[in-house]
């Protein structure tokens, strides 16, 4: 893996600074610090219950940290609501429900494009030409997003009726529609079969070429090792390693805590 992307970027686009999260007496994250640089693909891994999803929730404003701050492109995310975090260009997907099941694939993406327009209410009610043109442009963008992830031929089907792999792709399309500069994917390939996973990896590669910064939570080790620029390993709410895939693979603490010997086969 070419790691020069990571080191050459001048300053981080996303930095998590001494973040801690406690649920009553339970410490979900004790003290977490890491940066993600522009254009990087960083994976967050760790055993179940290590605090990965909590970290995602904190970064995207769904969960308030007990201590610490998250900064995105120089803006502190402290106290921002999730939709305001999205407004800054930091968009996430969810482990389970990442699409509107009863709504058509095309309309799913149209909803995802919400952040891209700000039509005037009166213009909308009066049906002014300007709003109509904006709507047309939006539809065109929706098609482009569908084509990017490769599910355009299913545009008219209800989201929930797609095959599992395509549902996950739609989830990413929804997030992509918001035109994020950083994309947070929560276990995007969990439950996918091999061919679906390889299709998903192709999509990730395309997104990287477009210059999207990606933070990934994933259990699929071969995939993580293959595509990541950098890997952050969490265990018991604390970062135990942060480095390139090769470094992680050879890190004794990581091997002990999580990977065992399995990674050598990957």
């Amino acid at each position: 893996m070419d790691t020069s992307v990571a080191t050459s970027a001048s300053k981080p686009i996303l930095s998590v600074d001494h973040v801690a999260v406690q649920f009553g007496g339970l410490v979900a994250i004790s003290d977490m610090c890491f940066d993600v640089h522009e254009g990087e693909l960083v994976s967050l891994i760790g055993p179940n219950g290590a605090g990965k999803t909590t970290a995602f929730n904190v970064i995207t404003g769904f969960q308030r940290p007990t201590r610490g701050t998250v900064t995105f492109r120089g803006t502190s995310l402290e106290g921002l609501k999730p939709h305001e975090v999205t407004g800054l260009g930091l968009v996430r997907t969810f482990q389970r429900t990442s699409l509107f099941e009863k709504i058509s694939v095309f309309d799913n993406v149209l909803i995802g494009l919400h952040r891209r327009t700000s039509p005037s209410l009166f213009g909308t009610l009066l049906g002014l030409p300007r709003e109509r043109r904006a709507e047309e442009a939006l539809r065109e963008e929706a098609w482009e997003t569908l084509r990017l992830v490769g599910i355009e031929h299913q545009a008219n089907e209800a989201g929930g009726s797609l095959p599992y792999g395509d549902q996950r792709l739609l989830g990413v399309a929804l997030a992509l529609a918001a035109n994020p500069s950083a994309l947070l994917l929560d276990e995007p390939v969990s439950g996918m079969n091999a061919s679906e996973t390889s299709r998903f990896i192709e999509l990730l590669m395309r997104l990287r070429k477009m210059g999207k910064t990606i933070l990934l939570v994933e259990h699929d080790m071969p995939m993580v090792m293959k595509i990541s620029d950098r890997i952050v390993v969490l265990n018991y709410g604390r970062i135990i390693a942060n480095g390139t895939p090769t470094e992680i693979q050879n890190n004794p603490e990581v091997i002990a805590a999580y990977l065992g010997g399995g990674v050598k086969n990957a």
């Binding site: 999205t86 509107f100 095309f106």
Partner: protein
Amino acid sequence: MKLIASLLILAFFATVPLWLQDQYYLHTLVVTGIFMLAAMSLNLLLGFTGQLSLGHVAFFGIGAYVSALTSLGFSVTIFGMPIVHEPWPPFVGLIFGALAAGLCGYLIGKLAFRVRGAYFVIVTISFAEVVRLVSLNWVELTNGPLALPGIPPMTLGFEWSGYLTLWGKAQNYYFVLAVIVLTYVLIRRLVYSPYGRAMIALRENETLAVSVGISVTKYLVLAAVFSGALAGLAGGLYAHYIQIIDPMIFMFLNTVTMVIMVITGGKGTLAGPVVGGLIFGIAPVVLRSYVGPEVQWILYGVLMILIVFVLPEGIVPAIERWFNRGGASRSPTGRGASSGGSSGDGSALALSGSGKGNS
């Protein structure tokens, strides 16, 4: 195709006063139209954002009282300060009524949407009860249980154009029909815009909607304002048509009627409240010659349970599906509830199909 069908249905309803000579039936249709309008406003909240307002009659009643009082004039004393209002034209009253109800929608929305679901239902019920008690006890302003009589009928026009006062049933029929068509078009535009899509997204999956950047409060409050204002408009129409209102207007039964209209017709579809409104507006007239009013209510209950069991999504989505099965490939978005038609031109009209004809 759908547009032509809509226009034909509309044309049919425009001819009704020409051949329907019975004034009582015409009266029924006017009142049906007014409640249909209220149901359409409720549908905006219940159908498109998924929030059930069980105090919707409050907006209706506020619209009615504000419109009536604006055009009747009043004099009250608040904290020792006398306030006298000279009568204004009924049309101004109608607008004030809608604005006042919209403002209430804003306040209720701001207050209640911090907590959604069951809590919102409770807040709206309480709100309706508070408004009812105020109308009952603030005798100086509302005349309390003695009712507010002599409300002037609707007057249209300007100084330069001359005035038209809607005394007759047919005139009121056309006015209500025009308001319904206008409202239908406005709601349709709203629903097919990013605004409507945001509301539908919040209904379907709030967490996900938020993650793509949709503000919960902004869009729910917007829906509440619109819904309240339209219900207020319906209330104003009611006041100037019936020409007398009393606190009975806030009966819970009126809210239930609106909810039944929306649910049987198909919540979250544009035509749903129109179809539901027609059925439950006309049913009392049909049933009247056979059974007493109490039995009628039982029958409505049975009818509604039947419809919910057989067609859980309501009548309009069922009809749409039936038509689409025939039309095979070019079915657009399955459910009418989904936002803007997906591909290309025809689908955008899909929902307006059985709709535009009213009252």
